[in-house]
Subunit: 413 residues, 2 copies
């Protein structure tokens, strides 16, 4: 398997991924595999294709960009092919392609792929090197495995929602799809681990994760605490139970987060804010500050509310006290630091430039790349069929029979 001692241009060059996943977690995962150089073949249903193409989108954005922001954010470095898996001819194509790919990923409900003849046991017989990756809501067994769910359902099920919000107000969701996007990295890790194992042994395997596992991983220290002594944490606004101060404080023109878990950092804070009265015995240690939480927060609020965000960030940052402004989405996206570290990618979509967030890590010798903009629905159907050995006549026959859906929609263009 090794390619000698030369450098590979990308980690996953030569790796083909047959991607039946939809919405967020799977597409987010395969985008990262594409960033690492894999060839991602996105199989979409006829009609609308990946539901995320229209999620929350306005008519104007559809006209200008051809797809929703969430689709464009998560589908670069892929080619799109339409297969109508309700048709036997399409299923035959999918099986033939899977036999020649390195990775298959899907998020049909448990058992869904078996009905198409695309289950793990069937495909491993044809391709024992295949890494077969399944993603579901609640996992592949157990009393809830038949249920569908999405991000916010697992924010609720996992208990995350119960600890998010103000103490005396209803629970709220974490504003972004944290469970879905965290799950995407579980998928990436599982697939990379299986590819590494295959590189060493020649054998593929089945890997699996779920929104349930993702939510539980995000909640792990809350569960451990509950399992230890029965503690059930609740909502604390911007604060948390681990240390004090560790929350938002008001400024004259917004608010800033101030955190100082360490005792020496707390002393530096009192100096940086010209607040020597806060450097006293009842706030001296982490235990003291947690015990006297209310007093500390009241007194520190009195200090911060006389300064601007910029002044607080400047003073505390210079003193190596952890501090951050509470940014809006626009302020965060435009903050120069994000582009400075190379975390913004720009690609042309339908004559316009679309920015998206780069892979969530960087590599010195095999840098991640944005090689292709997000595809139109079915943009590469014919090209892919040719690459997998289908001739013009076979493609025409597939199309005439409806296996490729209607002629690729131009509406998204």
């Amino acid at each position: 398997m090794g390619e000698g001692n030369g450098r590979l241009q990308s980690v996953l060059s030569g790796i083909r991924v047959l991607d039946f996943s939809r919405i967020f977690a799977g597409p987010a995962a395969t985008q990262i595999l594409g960033d690492l150089g894999a060839d991602i073949i996105k199989i979409e249903e006829p009609g609308h294709g990946d539901d995320a193409r229209t999620f929350g989108v306005t008519a104007e954005a559809m006209r200008d960009f051809g797809a929703s922001p969430s689709f464009l954010a998560l589908n670069r470095n892929k080619r799109s092919m339409v297969l109508d898996l309700r048709q036997q001819a399409a299923r035959d194509v999918a099986v033939a392609m899977a036999a020649r790919c390195d990775v298959l990923i899907h998020n049909f409900r448990p058992g869904g792929m078996d009905k198409f003849g695309l289950g793990y046991e069937a495909l491993r017989a044809a391709n024992p090197r295949l890494v077969y990756c399944e993603f579901s809501a609640y996992g592949d067994r157990g009393p809830l495995s038949h249920l569908g769910a999405n991000d916010v359902a697992l924010q609720a099920h996992s208990g995350l929602m119960s600890i998010t919000g103000e103490a005396d107000r209803p629970a709220v969701r974490s504003g972004t799809a944290v469970v879905d996007l965290h799950a995407s990295m579980g998928l990436v890790s599982a697939i990379l681990a299986a590819l590494l194992h295959r590189e060493r042994t020649g054998q593929g395997q089945r890997v699996e994760t779920s929104l349930l596992r993702s939510g539980a991983h995000l909640m792990n220290y809350f569960y451990t605490e509950y399992w230890q002594d029965g503690t059930v944490r609740g909502r604390m606004g911007t604060a948390n139970h681990l240390s004090v101060p560790n929350q938002a404080f008001p400024a004259t023109d917004g608010s800033v987060i101030i955190i100082s878990p360490a005792d020496d950092m707390w002393r530096r804070l009192t100096v940086a804010l010209d607040a020597p009265h806060l450097d006293r015995a009842e706030f001296k240690t982490a235990f003291d500050r947690r015990r006297n939480r209310d007093t500390l927060i009241t007194e520190l609020t009195a200090v911060t509310s006389r300064m601007s965000c910029a002044e607080l960030v400047q003073r505390l940052g210079a003193a190596k006290v952890n501090v951050s402004k509470v940014n809006s989405v626009g302020e965060a996206a435009d903050d120069p630091q994000l582009a400075a570290i190379g975390a913004v990618v720009e690609q042309q979509v339908g004559g316009r430039m679309v920015k998206s967030v780069a892979a969530p890590f960087a590599m010195s010798e095999t840098p991640t790349k944005a090689s292709r903009p997000p595809p139109r629905h079915g943009e590469h159907t014919d090209e892919l069929l040719r690459e997998f050995g289908y001739g013009a006549e076979a493609i025409s026959a597939l199309r005439a029979g409806g296996a490729l859906g209607a002629v690729p929609s131009q509406a998204a263009e």
Copy 2:
């Protein structure tokens, strides 16, 4: 590099990880590498060691379990060794160990490891196969790279906080350390990708991520939308802008999340809840339901508030409408589904059993394992020094000189 065509017991058997990381993201990452079979050598400072050992812990939990829930949740499958890197003799040991390890990971501020002679350039010369992994708050360059930060600071900086909370109330944090824990999976992915590249080429490299990259990845579709047309989303309680209904609804005894992004799912909902009046033109399509959000939510609330959580989950689940109860931390941790999918690990710590959450994915041929409980501070210092070739006299000399800190603390036992 290959090990023939036999099966490996674990993906990372034989891989040694020298782990200088602290708090959440790094330890969460190396725990997963340990679950995959790597030998994780956790280097801790003298004194308290990893700060997470005491984060938010009560005196009772310290006495009973020896460490905080967050430490115990994130540090299984590791051995702990104390080195006082302020001492040259300790730095020499660290360099000698790094020369014989496969992966090094740290989260010192940029430049911090160079001061110890443990920077990437120095170590790659000694060990060109080393995968060197760095983790920081804002990344390794750019105007904010000198700042320290933690999870909640990046929830604020990234804009996540600005979209979390009720519309007419202050922003709140996502109740768990989502940015930190999501970053841990960026670290796992980057390290696995680099190990795969090394397996194919023989070469190590430097990989890097940050809380900033993690936060941006969680916010990617919000940034893309802002970059496209300037939209700045705000807070929506439990709801979101992607589809309607997609939020919490009240029941007689709690609340449930109901989501139905697809039109046929919405029709099934109206049947399942005996609410034919909701199956009408103004709610027919996803666009219709978003446009008539307020009316729909008012009318659906009137229906759900007459039923119990259990009845809503039963009716909607049976109709394949996405539904979930809003669970407390305890309800979530104890829900039988989590154990049913093998996502709970149990180990003995100081005479008591401690449960933690398993790796966020499963593998059929190389299952993840919980081989060791979380270590006491410095528990394996001598054992590790012997494994790396230090004799009894050399170890005594290191200890007498203070390079290993004080005699390993028994307080944590």
